[in-house]
Structures are given as C-alpha cells and as structure tokens.
Symmetry: C2
Subunit: 87 residues, 2 copies
Amino acid sequence: MYVVIVYDVGVERVNKVRSFLREYMNWVQNSVFEGELTKAEFLKIKSRLKELIQESSDHIIFYSSRDRKYLGIEDLGTPKADTSNII
Amino acid sequence: MYVVIVYDVGVERVNKVRSFLREYMNWVQNSVFEGELTKAEFLKIKSRLKELIQESSDHIIFYSSRDRKYLGIEDLGTPKADTSNII
C-alpha cells in the first residue's frame, strides 16, 4: 500500500517524528512523508507515532491507497533541498 | 475526483494560496487542503496556483484519487481549531 503522512506537531517533538518516519518513508516536503508500506509497517508506524506525539495538541493525517497506481501524484515548484532522500 | 494538496510556500504568499484554496477545498491541517473536485476545477486550481507561487522556492504536491472511496483517510490527535470549515 502507498501511504502519505502529513503532520502538524509541536516543535519539541518534530525531530523525533521526522527521524522515526525517515526509517520507513521518503521525506518529500516540510511536514510530509510518502512511501510504500506493508500493512504491518503501517500499523507499527501509527502505534509508534501515537506514543511520540501529544494527542491533545498535535495532529497527523494518514492518506493511504491500496496501490501506488491508484494515486495520482504531481508537483509544482521546487522541493526543499534538505528533503532529499539518500537511499 | 478526490484531491489532497500540500504546500510549502514563502510566508508572504501563504495567505493568498490559503484564501484561494478555501474557495474550493477544506483546510484540514496547517498546509494541507482536501476536497472533491471536478477535473475542470482541478486544472483551474493548478494553473492559478502556478501564478500565485514562486516556483524557484515554493513547492506544492497534488495527490489525487479517481474516487474518494479509493483513498483511506485516518487521523491521530487534534486538528487545529482555525482549520474548522464553516460551510
């Protein structure tokens, strides 16, 4: 499955969320990660994020598509350099 | 079609982008809009955003699904109050 995660979390938690997500997904924009995940990985990410964030003030949205081919992805402009993903 | 737009634009352009997108879509998180669009609306939004942003430094990603039912959407935590959408 293909997953897009967008997050709006307190500045004191951003680095933890970001370094965790980088283990599984591609950082494509300031608060946006994308990537191919198994169902097990997706469950693991959701439960770990639940531990990392403060649910009363932070917010994360998960968009998922059964297959990458069902999700159109286009962009405009220039991605920030620091979201480059060294694989 | 169901569209999610995430943007990372210069602070001097954010308000223009945000008030334009609010005419068509729901503001669901700091730099994230979602909504049901016709193909014509989607084309119009992309071309208007192209005029509004500075492509050398700003970045916008468009995720689209042919039908809302092909896109899983879940969230964690608490959406910011000011993204409430008065319809």
